[in-house]
Amino acid sequence: MNDMSIMERAVTVNESKISAKKVQVYYGEKHAVKDVDIEILDKTVTAFIGPSGCGKSTFLRCINRMNDTIDICRVEGQITLDGDDIYDRRVDPVQLRAKVGMVFQKPNPFPKSIYDNVAYGPRIHGLVRNKVETDEIVEKSLRGAALWNEVKDRLHEPGTGLSGGQQQRLCIARAVATQPEVLLMDEPCSALDPIATSQVEELIDQLRSEFSVVIVTHSMQQAARVSQKTAFFHLGNLVEYGDTDDIFTRPRDPRTESYISGKIG
């Protein structure tokens, strides 16, 4: 079943999209991310794996400066996007986030209709000029997130009235609709059934042809299926980063090895 992804995880070396140097993150006293150096490639799916609480979400949120919203959070080090330091004073975090979209770990739909949830991003970014275009982008995004069939009759009901997995897919649709250059997804399939999961994975694979995708996942199989690069975090450290193939077959670090060998889920 993993053949496809293994096949595609081919030789082409894409250029670096995001590069992090000596990134440290503190929550007050707590040192949550330690000294992380990483190059995230363009047109590539990168998976972040590691035990719960190891700093995956935290690091992910650094990449589009969502950590700015947490008062006690402090980021050090350098992260560049296409060579520009994103923590530079002149950088507009809003523009950054438009380029680097995010799906959060806990689904957080707006208390608006399903339609408005998805249409919001395109509207504020001026990606649509009229109702027809909006309808189109909403449908496309919801289809991409494998939600269209379930909600097409209730587009104008509140997004908060959806089931857990539906909300998760709605958030994916919402993020995809803004057409970011980099998409950060924090456990996007945690509440999805296998079929929905495979549809989302397919979406991720499609996105890869144009964008760069970073996905946090606890499912090693999923990481193996969708990603070309994998980063393994442990206790705030980036322990190992490399081709997904290598990580899962020839881990260099004993911690990586013990983590993936204890693999069950």
Partner: protein, 451 residues
């Protein structure tokens, strides 16, 4: 790998009883729950009961103000008295004062009595004239000056009766009280009763209460809340236009943008403290800042509105900030995460969710502003004003009164008839408040949601 089994818990074991049979502890907790709920219901009952008592008193005292007793009688406009020069020259006719007109009215009433064969027993000429309100001569004079051709003819006019007579028909004045009352006598009331039986005197709906300006202490029957309503409307317009946007804007800045530092803390404490500043102090400020410094006129709704705006701002800011704070961060994250700017996040998502709280603050703030007298005392709005202000925006600079001022003034007046007026004005004020609330309540219900 889990190091302890839960089954052997050292804690007291759990009783596994039937669902319908409550164990002791659950029963206790349920009793506590019932009590708690009863406290809540009781609290609401107390609040509603207080409201009901207050409303009942206000209504029972004040509804009378909306009805008034009028006397209709033919008045012969004697040319000899009203236009001695005979030229129908306005300037000459203006020389005849209301005192002259009151004599005409007195004569007309006596004549009417004579025609209807109603005896004047025990009543002096003055006593009879006193049945008619002191407002009537002015009314007649204006009528004549507006149309000098009337002089010499006889016209049917409907005039207000004296406040005591009016009170008699509303039950405020009784024969027994009139006995001791130096301003009326049982004989006068008896005469009024006779007139009523003859159909010349009637108590009817009183629009004038809503449209007339205030009247002096001798004419409770003519006093109305017209100018007070206008003044309050003008002031509320100013407050609404200034306090709500400024208050919400300030809250947004402080809650969402301001760096969390000492300065912000100072501003926060400062605003909370402003809420505790007695309203009269805002009057001191208004006098100093708007009248003495900025040179705005005395007694003007614009100044009143500005002072009330400053006074309401803390209320609106405090409640708006609390409402903004209550919006869960995940909503903000969601919007920021798809590249909405902070401004967009706030205006598109946070503010609509905070709206119910903002509206509550606005309602309470406006209610407070609408009922406030003390600060107006110092900027000249607690005043006797008889000329209507013009339409806004110029009217904002004309002298005007306000509803609470009218209430305050009337409760201080000696004639008990003003107490009824004061309660009537309170009814108007509450209706005013209710109207303002309806919109807010409607909006609040639209925007209220849980997440």
């Amino acid at each position: 790998m889990t190091d302890a089994s839960l089954s052997g818990a050292a804690a007291p074991a759990r009783r596994h009883g039937s669902l319908t049979q409550l164990d002791e502890r659950t029963r206790r907790r349920n009793a506590a729950e019932k009590r708690f709920r009863a406290y809540g219901a009781g609290a609401i009952a107390i609040a509603i009961a207080c409201l009901a008592i207050l409303l009942f008193t206000i209504l029972s005292n004040g509804l009378g103000a909306f009805r008034q007793t009028y006397l209709t009688l033919p008045v012969a406009l004697d040319a000899q008295v009203l236009d001695p020069s005979g030229q129908r020259d306005l300037d000459a006719m203006k020389k005849v004062t209301t005192i002259g007109y009151s004599k005409v009215l007195e004569a007309a009433l006596r004549q009417t009595l004579a025609q209807n064969a109603i005896p004047e027993e025990g009543l002096s000429k003055k006593d009879i004239g006193d049945l008619i309100s002191k407002e009537a001569p002015a009314q007649l004079r204006n009528m004549v000056l507006a149309d000098p051709a009337l002089v010499g003819t006889s016209v049917d006019v409907s005039v207000l009766t004296n406040g005591r007579v009016d009170g008699f028909f509303k039950g405020r004045v009784t024969m027994a009280s009139a006995e001791k009352d130096s301003n009326t006598s049982p004989a006068q009331l008896q005469l009024a009763q006779t007139l009523k039986e003859k159909g010349m005197l009637a108590t009817k709906w009183n629009w004038a209460f809503l449209t007339n300006p205030d009247a002096s202490d001798q004419r409770p029957e003519a006093a109305g809340v017209g100018i007070a309503i206008l003044g309050s409307v003008y002031m509320m317009l100013v407050v609404l236009v200034l306090a709500v946007p400024i208050g919400v804007a300030a809250s947004i800045y402080l809650e969402e943008f301001a760096p969390k530092n000492r300065l912000t803390d100072i501003i926060e404490v400062n605003i909370a403290n402003l809420a505790a500043v007695p309203s009269i102090v805002f009057g001191i400020l208004g006098l100093a800042a708007f009248i003495n410094f900025a040179g705005l006129p005395q007694s003007a709704p614009i100044v009143g509105g500005l002072v009330l705006t400053l006074m309401t701002l803390p209320t609106i800011i405090i409640s708006t900030r609390a409402a903004l704070k209550a919006v869960p961060p995940s909503i903000r994250d969601a919007a920021l995460g798809i590249g909405a700017s902070k401004m967009q996040t706030i205006f598109h998502h946070v503010l609509p969710l905070a709206l119910p709280g903002i509206l509550t603050g606005t309602i309470i703030g406006l209610a407070q502003a609408l009922g406030e007298t003390a600060p107006l005392l110092l900027i000249g709005m607690v005043a006797f004003v008889k000329n209507f202000p013009s339409a806004p925006p110029e009217g904002l600079f004309d002298p005007a009164s306000a509803l609470p001022v009218q209430v305050y003034n009337w409760t201080q007046r000696a004639d008990p008839a003003f107490f009824e007026r004061a309660s009537g004005a309170i009814i108007v004020l509450l209706v005013f408040l209710l109207c303002m609330n309806v919109l807010a309540i409607f909006l609040r219900r639209r925007f209220e949601r849980r997440w």
